[in-house]
């Protein structure tokens, strides 16, 4: 089996993972936290960095996540737990998927297209999910420079229009605003949970935990810079700007002459985002594979079934995005830390080293 290299893990953490946080979340946070939106993001980044550090440290034991659970809780419990974990990842995938659907409908089409415009995404998703996670390390090698080019391009076009003083005064949203918005943001930060499913698919290298955490922090710094620029440009009307990274660059003066050249960068980030959005689904299927065996066609069948299920879900929830945000991000947000922080922490504390077998 191919292994993901440590470099590819760093690329994922620093370049691919941040892209999922700059679409809908900035507007949501601008609503609750207003000009203090950097604080909840900073809090999330720090917590997630800690979780990433823990997961990478866990991978030092040279076991996959399932083996770790098996070693700690026994075979049956491990199967149940990993199935639950898979369900969690599928649950976590819903919000980014709906977010992606709205983004596609709004940014790639001038008039609201029929739902079918987003349907091809699930063909792509089914194709990706039918392949094991481990074969995707290489895509991160490509996606990382693409994400950097896209992000830097957008920031270059945007930064000049931003009035960073709009971020003052600090603390205007108060403690409750901070807590509420931090809770809201939780549903977008579960990268450590994804990383947990990669375990065993990469080899731990010396200092990987630190380097991984630093990579995540570097990506986090880029997110913070983006949020600052976003609020600097839109200030009080920021809550209206639903697809943040597609909005900030259009005020660049050259655009009136050249047309929307910023679309080059937006499309680059959209490409990265398409891969990132599929990851929780793929992780979920990986967990299911661990739980239900490794029949040759099981992965393909699961991939098709789960994606078909999500098509149905997306059709059903077509106009209910706000309700989904209400349920997942504002009500059930507490589920996320259980999986991305508590599970690795417990595994770290309770788990034993691999039983050497003769």
């Amino acid at each position: 089996m191919k292994k993901i290299s440590s470099r590819q893990i760093y690329f994922f953490l620093a370049c691919v993972a941040p892209v999922g946080k700059i679409l809908f979340l900035p507007a949501l946070l601008a609503k609750d936290a207003k000009n203090d939106l950097l604080f909840p993001i900073l809090a999330q980044i720090l917590v997630q960095t800690l979780a990433v550090f823990l997961v990478l440290l866990l991978s030092k034991r040279g076991m996959s996540f399932y083996e770790l659970l098996e070693n700690t809780f026994g075979r049956i419990a491990a199967k149940i737990l990993i199935a639950i974990y898979g369900l969690f990842l599928l649950f976590a995938a819903l919000l980014p998927l709906l977010e992606q659907k709205l983004f596609v409908q709004s940014v790639f089409y001038d008039t609201l297209p029929s739902l079918i415009a987003f349907a091809p995404f699930f063909i792509f998703s089914a194709y990706v999910c039918a392949k094991p996670l481990s074969s995707f390390g290489r895509t991160w090698d490509l996606l990382a420079p693409l994400a950097i080019v896209g992000f830097v391009g957008i920031m270059l076009l945007s930064a000049g229009s931003a009035d960073y003083s709009a971020l003052a005064p600090a603390g205007a949203a108060g403690g409750s605003g901070f807590l509420r918005s931090t809770a809201d943001a939780t549903s977008w930060f579960f990268d450590a949970a994804l990383l947990l499913t990669f375990m065993g698919k990469y080899e731990y290298k010396k200092g990987m935990a630190w380097k991984g955490a630093l990579s995540y922090l570097a990506g986090g710094a880029a997110i913070l810079f983006f949020y600052a620029t976003f609020y600097g440009i839109f200030a009080e009307i920021a809550p209206n700007q639903l697809f943040a990274f597609t909005q900030t660059s259009k005020y660049f003066s050259g655009i009136t002459v050249l047309g929307r050249i910023d679309y080059v960068f937006i499309f680059a980030l959209a490409l990265v985002m398409a891969f990132y959005t599929v990851l929780p689904l793929q992780g979920g299927i990986d967990c299911a594979m661990e739980a239900f065996g490794t029949h040759k066609y099981l992965r393909t069948i699961l991939s098709v079934l789960i994606n078909a299920g999500f098509v149905a879900l997306v059709v059903t929830l077509d106009y209910q995005f706000n309700d989904v945000v209400q349920v997942i991000a504002k009500t059930l947000f507490w589920i996320f830390p259980i999986f991305f922080l508590l599970v690795p922490a417990l595994s770290f504390l309770l788990g034993r080293k691999r039983h050497e077998t003769a």
Partner: protein, 396 residues
């Protein structure tokens, strides 16, 4: 065995099916698609007050055919009345059969009457519409916006393009106009200052060459035939100021110039001073301007201007005196300083009188200290003191 073979060929069958679906979609183009040929490309929108709510006039670009030999943009103006802006757009759709698309709308004109009520009631639609670029320019205009948009421009094919030219970078650098975009206006509206500004556009008549020729040819006394439309020239040297989304006053051209200077926009803009009885025009070469707020013990707005000027021309025809032609005498500099200070003072008085926090001083207070803001927010403008410091220099 058969089942295994069937399973093995599933991917191939799926690819085949997928290709058929794609080809079907490609050749039918039938997914509620609104392509370029079914689209009304709206270049500008004008909003007026109407009995039922709003009157929306849209200027729609009409593509010229493939046989066109000259450039330019043809356009047609369609209007509709409705309770909301969205309502008006639907009516325009019904009237034309074209789907109105706002993605290229680069100008929103607001009629004078409509501007006296909260303009956000109508602008909200544009602000919330994800297909509307909020980088679009905005202006208030004399009389009805629809009439202005439908008027014939003397300098461009479409009135909106002619008005857009008023807000070009070069015009901004002249200091004669203060353009604003939907985004900036909305930010100032929703901000703590609740104040904003928009350029005020006026149209003046210009007899077209064609009609002039016809008039001369017929030998009649200058009356135009009914079908001939007057061509208009537009200007935007005044600035409408807003509070709570309502237009509360108009800054004359001098105050607009002062506002530009304080924003530091001006480069190569000109203004006149008196040198004795003689009018002298000065060109601004460098413009450092700014407004700051001090809160101890009471809020104090500090206006500072530092201008580097050059003599542009004199009113009387003097002899050309070689290299000294652009030196500005001390007398003129003093005069310029006094004039500029006067402009700024008038500007501040107008704003205070109208309750418009044009310089977003309240926002500055909010951003610098929440405590002070809470203390002063209710009677901020009336209690703010002002200090104006203008320095006009010339190149030695």
């Amino acid at each position: 065995m058969k089942l295994r073979k069937f399973i093995k060929t599933i991917p191939l069958k799926l690819y085949f099916l997928l290709t058929i679906v794609i080809l079907y979609a490609f050749f039918s183009n039938d997914f509620g698609l609104v392509d370029i040929q079914k689209t009304a490309i709206i270049l500008a929108a004008a909003i007026d007050k109407a009995e039922s709510g709003f009157s929306l006039t849209t200027q729609i670009a009409v593509p010229k055919g493939s046989d066109r030999t000259t450039g330019g943009t043809s356009s047609v103006e369609i209007d509709a009345e409705g309770e909301t802006v969205s309502d008006c757009l639907s009516l325009i759709y019904a009237k034309t059969g074209w789907v109105p698309k706002l993605v290229f709308c680069n100008l929103i004109l607001i009629g004078e009457e409509a501007a006296k009520e909260d303009v956000m009631h109508s602008l909200n639609f544009f602000l919330r519409n994800e297909y509307m670029p909020d980088s679009c320019l905005m202006a208030v205009c004399e009389g009805k916006a629809g009439d202005m948009l439908s008027s014939q421009s003397a300098i461009d094919d479409a009135s909106s393009l002619a008005i857009n030219k008023l807000f070009s970078d070069a015009a901004v650098k002249s200091g004669k106009v203060m353009p604003n975009t939907l985004r900036e206006f909305a930010i100032s509206y929703f901000g703590v200052s609740e104040s904003g500004y928009l350029p005020f556009v006026r149209a003046s008549s210009q007899e077209s060459n064609q009609s002039a020729q016809q008039t001369a040819g017929s030998g009649s006394g200058g009356a135009k035939s009914g079908s001939q439309e007057e061509e208009k020239i537009y200007s935007a040297e005044e600035t409408a100021i807003f509070r709570g989304g309502k237009m509360v006053g108009l800054l004359p051209r001098e105050q607009t110039f002062a506002f530009s200077l304080l924003k530091g926009n001006v480069f190569a803009g000109t203004f006149n001073v008196k040198e004795g009885d003689e009018a002298v025009t000065l060109t601004v070469l460098k413009n450092d301007g700014g407004v700051s707020l001090e809160c101890k013990p009471v809020p104090k707005a500090k206006f500072s201007l530092d201008l580097l000027v050059r003599l542009c021309c004199r009113g009387s025809s003097g002899a050309i005196d070689g290299v000294t032609v652009d030196t500005v005498p001390e007398e003129s500099l003093q005069s310029a300083q006094t004039i500029v200070t006067g402009y700024v003072n008038d500007l501040w008085n107008t704003c205070r009188e109208k309750g418009c926090d044009l310089f977003q001083l309240k926002r500055s207070l909010y951003r610098s200290s929440l405590k002070k803001y809470a203390e002063w927010k209710d009677n901020f403008l009336s209690s703010t003191q002002v200090q104006i410091k203008a320095v006009v220099k010339t190149k030695k």
